[in-house]
């Protein structure tokens, strides 16, 4: 990047901050981040795998049609065959079809919980950091308290209380994840709020909320996106933990963790490998994929800062 080009960026940015033009430096920032991102082979593999899993879980059931609602005890723990490619579980559900349906829950809940927690955490952290002083101190103690609660224990209690459906479980997971995001975004905000362009908004009479939403959040977007990516992986893991503890979504709904829980019951009774390995390996692969992407995004956005 030449000095001239970055000079233009700076001018554009300040005009944008004065509200004269829309925030046009955004596209440049994302394009540069994208360049770094595609150089990272692992991240591309991860992205490819996630796209594959989306097709597998959401298009797959239309191609490989199975009954995932009614049990069929004639197929009790049947071995893999041409008819049931990955065999059946103890209720006669086709295991491959079940992986697709369970994957839908895992991915949907993971994404939704990540989005909810990152949205809440970002707003909370940005407001806390921007407000500063006493308000900030109180708001951060609430975050400290949240981070001190043993999350798995409270999530288990909430699951007992609410008998989770896929929708309530999103909030049960998100309730615990946003604290960490809030703390990080607050740190970013503290660094940003004394910048000239944020001060300028104050001087020309802009409301505080405008500074937070139009200026602070967009400038912290790198951190936020990276956190969101890791949040998806962590939410999928948390959902699988709940499923394993039989505190997850209720049957006939399922997720990969619940499938593993079923498998554990039969592990000592014979070689029912198809009950254990497929869901377990899919959880690992999808979490690794999101972690690869998160790492690559972190590099991508940090490089942007270095080039400036």
């Amino acid at each position: 990047m030449s000095i001239e080009a970055s000079g233009t960026q700076a001018i554009l940015a300040s005009e944008a901050e004065l509200g004269l033009v829309p925030v046009t430096n955004q596209r440049g920032m994302f394009r540069r981040a994208l360049e770094v991102f595609v150089e990272n082979k692992l991240a591309l593999v991860g992205l490819g795998f996630i796209v594959f899993m989306l097709l597998f879980c959401f298009i797959g059931p239309h191609i490989y049609v199975t009954n995932q609602v009614d049990t069929n005890l004639d197929n009790y723990l049947c071995t893999p065959s041409a008819q049931h490619l990955l065999g059946c579980n103890e209720l006669g559900y086709d295991e491959l079809g079940r992986l697709m349906v369970g994957g839908q829950t895992s991915i949907e809940v993971g994404l939704a919980a990540a989005i909810v927690s990152v949205l809440v955490g970002t707003l909370y952290g940005a407001i806390s950091g921007f407000a500063g002083g006493f308000v900030d101190a109180i708001m951060m103690r609430v975050v400290d308290a949240g981070l001190s609660l043993p999350s798995l224990m409270v999530i288990m209690i909430l699951s007992v209380i609410f008998h989770p459906t896929p929708v309530t479980i999103i909030f049960i997971i998100a309730v615990f994840y946003w604290f960490g995001v809030a703390r990080l975004v607050r740190g970013e905000t503290l660094a940003l709020r004394n910048r000239e362009y944020v001060q300028a908004v104050k001087v020309i009479g802009g409301r505080p909320l405008r500074s937070v939403i139009r200026h602070i959040v967009p400038n912290a977007i790198g951190t936020i996106i990276v956190q969101a990516t890791f949040a998806v992986a962590d939410s999928i893991l948390t959902l699988s933990v709940l499923g394993f503890l039989t505190l997850g979504v209720a049957p006939p709904n399922t997720d990969w963790g619940s499938m593993l829980s079923g498998g554990l019951t039969y592990i000592q009774g014979g070689n029912y490998w198809w009950l254990i390995y497929p869901p377990g390996i899919l959880i690992i692969l999808i979490c690794i994929s999101f972690n690869f992407i998160g790492d690559a995004l972190r590099d991508a956005f940090e490089t942007r800062l270095q080039r400036r």
């Binding site: 043993p150 007992v160 554990l264 000592q268 959880i283």
Partner: protein, 314 residues
């Protein structure tokens, strides 16, 4: 320093106030309140009113809170009607066993994680570094219980090397007397923690290697071994202390899963059966205990950090 101690302790006390309040509110989230959880859906209005009066649930929330906190301060964590046992005696019976599991797992994981993390940083971008990074990625992404299940499948079902269950003794001595059965649970626990320490240690050492004091040490002719182990390692170790303090919630969570998978008779298993039985006194008592441990752990970690690193002054 004294000012910092007072301020930091004050913060911890305020945090404790918030978490106990949140925990108490949790009781009232049970559908129909705590009374329904115990007496069930068929309880008559008279029984409900009698129970509420007897246990003080008909009083205003702040009175309930003050009474409850008063009990907590006096070390009374409640009584489980389900187990017909006080939560204190449950803890006295199960906590030592969980502490053994957590300590063994943490020590084993630190023994591997810290040196290997340093090694990775010193030999960064080597084949060994990539291989170990892959291992820690696997540790990050593998659900604890899945690792436990496949280890049982391999070492207990396919090859009969280790028993599939943790030691079932009711006392600490009985648990330690069966070391063979402890290997799988401790290994599973340690593997997942290993990922945390080694990755953190690697990046911490990398950060320290570019510091000025390293250049000074090298300029003075210190050997590479002295630079790494005498200077960088010691400085990186300080930040691990903070991480240890912050990790208490995940240590607790990990212990629950390990205990469920291996049927290890500790607090995690007690908490899990309390969850399945909606035994809210046990649920709350154990949650409060774990939370207080976390808050105190964080406090000690921060103080330790300030003592060990003279650059840190709040």
């Amino acid at each position: 320093m004294v000012g910092f101690l007072i301020r930091r302790t004050g913060q911890a006390i305020f945090v404790l106030f918030l978490v106990t309040l949140a925990t108490l509110l949790l009781v009232h989230l049970f559908p129909g309140g705590p009374v329904r959880a115990l007496l069930g859906p068929r309880a008559t209005p008279f029984q409900i009113a009698y129970y509420n009066q007897q246990y003080g649930f008909d009083q205003p929330l702040y009175v309930q809170y003050l009474k409850w906190v008063n009990q907590l301060i006096h070390g009374n964590l409640g009584f489980s009607n389900h187990l017909n046992q006080s939560v204190n005696s449950l803890i006295a019976q199960d906590l030592p066993k969980t502490v053994i599991l957590v300590l063994l797992g943490t020590v084993v994981s630190l023994l591997f994680g810290i040196p290997l993390g340093v090694y990775q940083a010193v030999h960064r971008n080597s084949v060994a570094d990539y291989a170990l990074t892959a291992v820690s990625f696997l540790g990050y992404s593998t659900p604890t219980f899945f690792l436990g299940i496949i280890l049982v499948d391999w070492f207990s079902v396919d090859v009969h090397i280790f028993p599939p269950f943790a030691p079932q003794g009711s006392t600490v001595g009985a648990i330690l007397g069966d070391p063979k059965a402890l290997i799988l649970p401790v290994f599973t626990y340690a593997f997942l923690l290993y990922a945390l320490w080694s990755r953190y240690m690697r990046s911490s050492v990398l950060d320290n290697l570019v510091q000025d004091y390293v250049r000074t040490a090298r300029a003075k002719g210190a050997s590479e071994r002295r630079v790494v182990w005498g200077h960088v390692f010691r400085n990186s170790l300080v930040s691990i202390i903070t991480l240890l303090g912050l990790s208490i919630p995940s240590l607790v969570g990990g212990a629950i899963l390990i205990e469920v998978v291996f049927n290890y008779p500790g607090m995690g298993l007690a908490f899990y059966s309390a969850a399945l039985n909606v035994d809210y006194e046990v649920l709350l008592g154990l949650t409060v205990l774990a939370t207080v441990a976390t808050v105190v752990g964080n406090l000690l970690a921060d103080i330790g950090y300030a003592v060990l690193d003279p650059r840190v002054r709040y």
